[in-house]
Symmetry: C2
Subunit: 311 residues, 2 copies
Amino acid sequence: MNYEAMIEARTKEVNEKILSYLPKEEGYQKTVIEAMNYSFRVGGKRLRPFLMQEIYTMCGGTKKIVEPFMAALEMIHTYSLVHDDLPEMDDDELRRGMPTTHKKYGQAMGVLAGDGLLNYAMETAMRAFDLCSQQDNENIIKALQVLFNKSGIYGMIGGQTLDVEAEKTNHELELGELLFIDENKTAALLEAALMCGAILAGADEKVVDQFEKVGSLVGTAFQIQDDILDITSTTQVLGKPVGSDERNHKKTYVTYYGLEEAKKDQERFSLEAISMLDSYGTEATLTLTPESEEAKQIVIALIRRLVSRKM
Amino acid sequence: MNYEAMIEARTKEVNEKILSYLPKEEGYQKTVIEAMNYSFRVGGKRLRPFLMQEIYTMCGGTKKIVEPFMAALEMIHTYSLVHDDLPEMDDDELRRGMPTTHKKYGQAMGVLAGDGLLNYAMETAMRAFDLCSQQDNENIIKALQVLFNKSGIYGMIGGQTLDVEAEKTNHELELGELLFIDENKTAALLEAALMCGAILAGADEKVVDQFEKVGSLVGTAFQIQDDILDITSTTQVLGKPVGSDERNHKKTYVTYYGLEEAKKDQERFSLEAISMLDSYGTEATLTLTPESEEAKQIVIALIRRLVSRKM
């Protein structure tokens, strides 16, 4: 099978699905909705909702209840970028080659659009309750709890905090602090993607825990790749300024371990994640449907692509 | 009965209850948690959780499931103040006589503490699922949907958007726009307080709709009072700078209708709200327990206090 082509095709599908959950740009509050939707549309890889969808299918899910969660997760990811780009945070003017939200709509609207996206993520995820029979309620509740645990102070915001604080106070990160940031700022939302996909499909706790580990490995690999690209890529290719870590004297995985070691670790983490995914469904107790098997291969292909740094 | 004394005593109880839901100040992300908790503790009236609790009791609720919702609503209220005080928004340095969050912890932490509070509000409200039998799940889901609808772009954030936009562009508000702001920026969270209290107690849709109307009346009265106090009070009494509406050439209910008319309307809206509350439980089909009747009288006393502007 040509999984590369399937990833392209399914990314487009995922993109269409999640765009359909955006609020209408109307009413007295139109400006904030335009700013929210602009920020959301600028994104492109849709990695998190893509992974959530494929893991859901891989674990045997066949309903629509995963869709509002896919959209909600991408909204959370988007709001974090909008607030991260604000002048008092990273002060970035470009994202994927486009003006950042506060550059286009003003700083106040940057704050409100971020707030609006986080709040609307909750409203959106809860639409899953309207798409299901009552027997799914328990899984939706569990998935909501995981999603907002991973996006909050014990997940993404926790990681952001230490990252920003170290930057503002010129504090040199110790390795433990650096790993905390990578685990939380980046990996937490990937963990949420995989875990929510599995939970919504009704996977048991042991399986969900394994996907949390896979998410952690992929997230850390992804963050290392980001650190590597900040050194080796160009503004044109990346769609955002490069070399910012060095300019800001920021400690990263690369500055701790060196470029070669970082590359090796990134590959090693990715391969471990792949191996864990590959073992799913190989026990005698579980036979995967053709759809589940296909989803599994697609997820693996996506992570391989990550290793070869094509994303 | 001395309801004034009971309001004091119960406000203290409410305060203790909601404070118990704050996250522990520990871990690598300690700073953001300190900033969140500082902002939360600076608040004092606890009007919204107080109303939610009393309406819950008034509608026959006797469990603890309302508590996480009380804390969540106050977190949402608090985050909106933290972000509202930011330099790119209202740029306020004092709130209730204390430095605003970004003044104390820096601007980046102001953004993150607000995000953290909104996200943690969701995590907190969901703790209600752990406090109940499955038969309450439906009500908790409904209450979650109302809470985050009223706090988002179709509620509070919607009102904020137009308010901020008009201020930044020196746009003179038309009356319809002004009422939209008062209804959403201020009233929406009070509506959420009353509606969630009723929903969690199992009230039917008609009753919940009536409480939405009561919330709208009380919220509008409360906002008009705010506009009046901005003219007639002092910085010392209010704990924040006065006269800011006039300095900013801001159109308010008072500038549209004049001080006397505004005072009259505020009283009229409050009395209508009281009359609606008073009629609750007077139909032949419903007999209030002593606890419910007491809660009803406390809510009415609180709103009377609002009319006489003692809050």
